[in-house]
Symmetry: C2
Subunit: 152 residues, 2 copies
């Protein structure tokens, strides 16, 4: 094979590789179809493995989370970015980020400041366990008093 | 107090208690606003604490999950109930169920048959980790070959 042809092949192969990598990157990114599109986000305590909460992100929340290293969600009730802990001080330091197979759900492994993610003062928002008969019992312990933390 | 009045009070008190319990049950139940309304469901491996996947339930999926003890979701792409593992055999035995503070997210702690929840053959659907620069790397290990399990 001539040197020129060999070089041409090398470039073609590299372009091909580059192209494949680009596609890989694009398809693996969270698939925000529009700037307003919300994806569910699971926050898990990196130390205990406890599932703390589920919230939502739009593209702006995702970008700010990556840039700041702190969890930023989109609050559907307040209809604006919600910097987790902005009121309570219980921010989440994001240590690891995962995206699922369909690129439509995000998993954050976080360090939860204050030991409680839930606005009701519990470590986890999932503090109610469902019994087989459909009844519920509270299984979490209150870490803080919400009336103290969220003063009206 | 006459026997009749005492009996009347007992009945009234019990009705009151019953009423309170009903309210408690209703407000803590997952808040499916309509039969079609979908709520996100996090499935977590009860042994390892790994977050396996996120899927959705409508009221029928919730009812069947409670009745059968196996995870039943609503597939948005197939637009029907999806008995997890119906094709792959990798069913999820539901060991614990939690509902969050707003009653709009469900957490299942499951025993994952086959050791893999993801249709791509990974233990968890969250097998792609995001680097600080926004690029991705695959961190999960394939447990099964999807081409073998989902034969066309």
């Amino acid at each position: 094979m001539s040197y020129v042809r060999s070089l041409a092949n090398t470039i073609r192969n590299r372009s091909h590789l580059f192209f494949i990598e680009r596609i890989e990157t694009l398809t693996n990114a969270p698939n925000f179809k529009t700037n307003e599109h919300l994806l569910p986000v699971v926050a898990q305590d990196i130390a205990t493995g406890k599932v703390l909460m589920l919230a939502y992100m739009n593209r702006a929340a995702w970008d700010e989370t990556l840039a700041s290293g702190k969890a930023v969600y989109y609050s559907r009730s307040r209809e604006r970015l919600w910097r987790k802990g902005e009121e309570s001080g219980n921010i989440q330091h994001v240590r690891e980020i995962y995206v699922d197979c369909d690129a439509d759900t995000i998993l954050l492994k976080v360090e939860q400041v204050g030991g409680a993610a839930c606005h009701e003062g519990y470590e986890s928002c999932f503090f109610r366990q469902v019994e087989q008969d459909g009844s519920f019992k509270v299984v979490g312990k209150r870490v803080f008093d919400p009336d103290e933390v969220y003063k009206k």
